[in-house]
Amino acid sequence: MTSSADAGPPAGRFLDTAHGRIFCMHWPAVGDGAVDSGAGSGAAGIGAALVVVPPFAEEMNRCRRMWSLLAAQLARDGIATLIPDLHGTGESEGDFADARWESWRDDVAAACSFARQQGARRIALLGVRLGALLALDWLRRAPGNERGDVTQLILWQPVLDGKQHLNQFLRLKLAAGLRQTAAAKETTGTLREKVARGERLEVAGYELTAELLAAVDALDARTLAPGAVLRVDWLEVSTSEAPALLPASERVLEAWRAGDARPEPGVVRGEPFWTLQEITIAPELNTRTRDVAAQALAA
């Protein structure tokens, strides 16, 4: 008999938002499956949920395996997991060209709201790469009743600078011209000018609009410090023999600590799975995430 010890099953739901329906994968906590027939029975996990805030473009697809594994582990710890596809991505409504930073913030709110409906009283956000900045930006703007039960923010290899992140993305378009002469070369600058003029720009299958580009360009992790009430676990992976935070991350953390934020950094051994063509996992990152989530949510 394994039915009572099995996690899940995960189920996809569509959530209504002002800009259309978004798809959200829901992994209930063990014993949590029958919310409708008695959430208060004590079997509904520990009343806590982790809401994933996904990264940009192709990185989202490369992270899916990691989230699924994490969600299955958390379910056994009594923690539900919600994985929304942001507007214009994945199974959600809209094309990528319809995606706006503002609507993505609404999507985070919608996923948290759904978590509450499912019985969560404490929520951890897991911001992955650009999703880290999205989670931070949402937290700064959300009204108290929407973020009051968000007790933890876990960040996976946060993007530190929106403009640099988009430069790296735009370079996918430039890669083919690597051997061209300097004069004929397009640059991220010329690509940005095209988009600003209203020209259509598709990079690796994603149409980048002037609106989204401007919003992401303006993001800077140093100016998005979380408040003091939140537990913040900043997690990175490293393949080094002596794993250490990236130097640029240390500088952001220094800036945050100059305010009232008290982030807790951690580095584990693992491969940079969000960049790799072959689906790769970093098991130690999931283990650490599970540990810190259990510490913060099992209250």
Binding site: L172, L174, L178, G189, T239, P247, A248, P272, T275, L276
Partner: protein, 97 residues
């Protein structure tokens, strides 16, 4: 030109070695055991099959994130990707700039 001691210390601490660059290539291109045979004379572009144009972009991104440099578009050229040694020289020059 050193502006203060802290900055100098940070630079020394973060200046990558040839082995660091090989490690980055190993991770980014998923070279596995093959990276053990790499040295600064190992030829890259046109010789390492994994290093296609998209992989070059991923390597540049990894250089930026791991070593904290910012690479401008006009600095990206095939020359830097000639060998492990030229790539290492490129990174060190960026950090010293």
């Amino acid at each position: 030109m050193t502006h203060n001691g802290t900055q100098a210390a940070r630079r020394i601490q973060t200046m990558p070695s040839v082995q660091d660059v090989i490690g980055l290539l190993k991770d980014t291109l998923q070279l596995g055991e093959r990276a053990q045979g790499f040295s600064d004379n190992t030829r890259l572009l046109g010789h390492v099959p994994e290093l296609d144009s998209l992989a070059v972009v991923n390597v540049i991104t990894a250089l930026e994130e791991r070593f904290g440099v910012v690479v401008n578009d006009d600095e990206i050229s095939a020359d830097a990707f000639e060998t492990v040694g030229t790539l290492h020289t490129f990174v060190v020059a960026k950090l010293n700039a």
